[in-house]
Amino acid sequence: MLATLIVASLTFVILDLRGGEGPLSSARAAVSAVIGAIQEGASTVASPFTNIGGSVSTWRNQSAQIAELEAENARLTEELRSTLSDRARARALDDLLRVASVGRYRVTPAEVISVGPAQDFAWTVGIDAGSLDGIEKDMTVINGEGLVGRVLKVNPTTSTVVLLVDASSAVGGRVATTEEIGIVSGTGRQDSLDFQLLDPLAELVIGDALVTFGSRGGRPYAPGIPIGEVVDITGTAGQLARVATVRPFVDVSQLSVVGVIVRPPREDPRDSVLPPREGAEGSDQTADAQPADEAADSAPGENADQPADEPTDQPADQPVDQPVDDGAETTVNGE
């Protein structure tokens, strides 16, 4: 048996050494092709396991690298997020400054730090400015969109602000284009206010914008601050129970940067603070109405609708409690 095998092997050797095309070489090629195919398949299956010894050490390196990259990724994500939030804050501050300079309000900026729980049914927020920052009770609080509310309580470094939408709040409002006045009161819902015109025969259309009428001395509400837009009117003209639903410009669920008006403007800014309205007809109307208002109601040379670059603060000896309009607002906003 063994001898036979040795002889066969030797025969192969001799035949192979002799060279040339023979029956052996073709058989060899065929077997080699079959084995090659099997090897290929096997190596595909085994490929994850090759070089296991070597890969354990590189795996350590790689996991360190992965950890490093993950840390870097987290850092960059964090940076991106803070950049985005910084940008949002900067935009909010820009808007606030624009409103403050157009309306010539002197504001102290603050940030909302706490919100009253909804189950108290009160719409109040806490801001991070207090009596040490010059905040006093009944100052008006605004942001870049318009009226936010008024200061209710003051602590040394924080204050409580009651929002416009709170059911206890009532603001004297004026329709921007028609000069009609009325009372805007909170409903306790964040997206609607009630507006009742003092003159039940007055004309009011959906889309009319409202601004604050202004309290005596600018407290609790300074004049000319955008309040909201009429979205619905119930009752017909002449009816006593004629109430309009107003959607506030300020989204109270998204409050971050606000400004407390520490000194109201000398002149009523009228409608100049209102954002330009969408739609050609509306914007024309506002643009046309404004200069006439200015001429009629403001001192000459006091062009409030220019985005003023000059400092908004007037000399400190100005009479602050200059009446903005007649006495109606004391009953409206009276505390």
Binding site: S114, D120, A122, G126, T160, D166
Partner: protein, 170 residues
């Protein structure tokens, strides 16, 4: 009531009030704000009994009422939360119930506290209670209370067992 117990309860409540007013109320969740303070009162009442529950309710309500953004009637929340702490402490046996049952009790307590606050405020002449809004707020506060209870009840239980073992109800 042991001094140590009061310190533990006070710190828990302070954390709960700060978290509730600065974080939970700003999440923008639909309906109510997750009522962490009520759940804390329930958890303490379950762990330490009705007397501690009532004390927690009183302190928690007082803290809520004086904390910055609040404009509620001072003392109202205390009355409601004392009732919650006392009732839960007397009526519920922690050992006999599963943690989910206890969480459900916490949720129910949140709902009861919301309704109680609304009712008392309305009686005392608050103009803020709009009854069409109350059901939605109550339902969501039950749901949030259930979820918070699942976390807070075991947590306060473990804390009490470690920090005030002499008062812990086994």
């Amino acid at each position: 009531m042991l001094f140590r117990q009061i310190v533990v309860i006070g710190s828990l409540l302070l954390a709960a009030v700060v978290l509730q007013t600065t974080v939970l109320s700003r999440l923008g969740l639909p309906g109510a704000t997750p009522d962490l303070v009520v759940v804390t009162v329930v958890a303490v009442a379950l762990a330490l009994g009705p007397a501690a529950g009532a004390l927690t309710g009183f302190l928690g309500g007082a803290l809520l009422d004086v904390a910055t953004p609040s404009d509620s009637i001072l003392g109202l929340a205390s009355i409601v939360l004392i009732a919650v702490g006392l009732a839960v402490g007397v009526a519920v046996d922690r050992e006999d119930s599963s943690v989910w049952t206890l969480s459900l009790i916490a949720g129910a307590a949140c709902g009861a506290a919301t309704l109680g606050t609304a009712l008392l405020s309305a009686i005392l002449g608050s103009e803020r209670i709009i009854w069409t809004v109350v059901p939605g707020v109550t339902l969501t506060t039950v749901l949030y209370g259930l979820i918070l209870g699942r976390v807070m009840i075991p947590l306060v239980g473990a804390l009490s067992r470690r920090l005030v073992p002499e008062a812990f109800l086994d």
